[in-house]
Assembly symmetry: C2
Amino acid sequence: MIVNVAMLTLTNQIRLVSEPMTNEAPDGTGRGGATSRREQLLSAAAELFARYGFHGVGIDDIGAAVGISGPALYRHFRGKDAMLGEMLTGISERLLHGGRARTVNTPDPITALEALVAWHVEFALTNSALITVHLRDLDSLAEPDRHRVRELQRGYVEVWVETLLQCRPDLSEHTARASAHAVLGLINSTPHSARLDPTRMSELLHRMAMNALLVERREGDEADGA
Amino acid sequence: MIVNVAMLTLTNQIRLVSEPMTNEAPDGTGRGGATSRREQLLSAAAELFARYGFHGVGIDDIGAAVGISGPALYRHFRGKDAMLGEMLTGISERLLHGGRARTVNTPDPITALEALVAWHVEFALTNSALITVHLRDLDSLAEPDRHRVRELQRGYVEVWVETLLQCRPDLSEHTARASAHAVLGLINSTPHSARLDPTRMSELLHRMAMNALLVERREGDEADGA
DNA sequence: CAATATAGTTAATGATCGTTAACGTAGCGA
DNA sequence: TCGCTACGTTAACGATCATTAACTATATTG
């Protein structure tokens, strides 16, 4: 339904002729250095989910994207839902831990905020498919995973809110949270954007984000209390 | 699959008991003043598509959301695809025409940019479901509609780029386009955001957007030429 | 009042899709 | 060499879902 039929059959042909039959890590858990089948599948699925949405991608499409066909996927994942779950919890954990790591032991709040912005910009530019899926298909997740992802997301936003409040004591917590969401939206727009080269794009997003966050506001912002 | 079963059956009951059987506009094209069935269906579908994605919503879910059941939808639309098509072309046209209308006959470029920001902020706050669908399900569109929507989107971004370039002659066109996308991402983040009350939210987004756009840059931005 | 258009209903159909079953094979350790 | 495991394959199953068919009721109109 998605890729052309030529590619479906061709990849199979190619696999039989030229592929050295996965000589990387012996175990299926992907502990080895080279990219295991699991990682190949997750990466391909992320790309497909980003473009067509979770429900718009079939198991056969995912398999075909890495040169295997259809149900072979069940040798590596418990199912299609499990792939999405692993994908989203993975990205959420990486974001949260990266954000935390970059804000502790900083000399002053502004430096911490700069580090946070730099971290998210770098992540979004490097993993744009994951960013798209994480914005798009969270509600396609089954309950145990969805709750976990939401908690991780909340924690990540909390890192932003705390850092921002230290830079801007004039803001209410509500306003700081809304500002954080807005700037994350700005940075996460990269997948849809006409991109410059990575260096310029990174600089541009960084500067826009900092200036959006550090605007001086006039009187009466935190009047709404709780 | 989406709404609970109780609601599905209950709405049917309620319809039989209390609904005055659509006494608004006589024609099905929705020319009348009150909301016609078509508009009810479009609105409900937008909400559902926004939350679950186009492929995640069934025809029965859409019908149930307005108190009719399943295939009754085909009395108003040629199919599910046609609903999405109408939804996305509609929103894209409204955005483009609104943007154009607000930038002609402005005294100076900065005022035009303010008007553009105000327009998009107002639109995004008022139609957050449509914004989400339009970011999310464009690729679920069949070919004639998709092309049209993309052209309208491109035109809208072009309005932003032209206005921004008048305010910021120091920017290259590439940089202006990337900036426009980024600010649209900032404003479009509203659906995912912990919202303040509309007035404060609107002010916050407006101020953040203007400051993101009107940052003074240091030397050497437009050096990349074409 | 008959006729017709409008807007519903339920049942059936056909395609798609996730998942499982049954089976094959290459590599490897005892 | 004998099995065991990892990793594929294709075929079948069952559910879901968009769409169509067949039918009903209400309201307007000549």
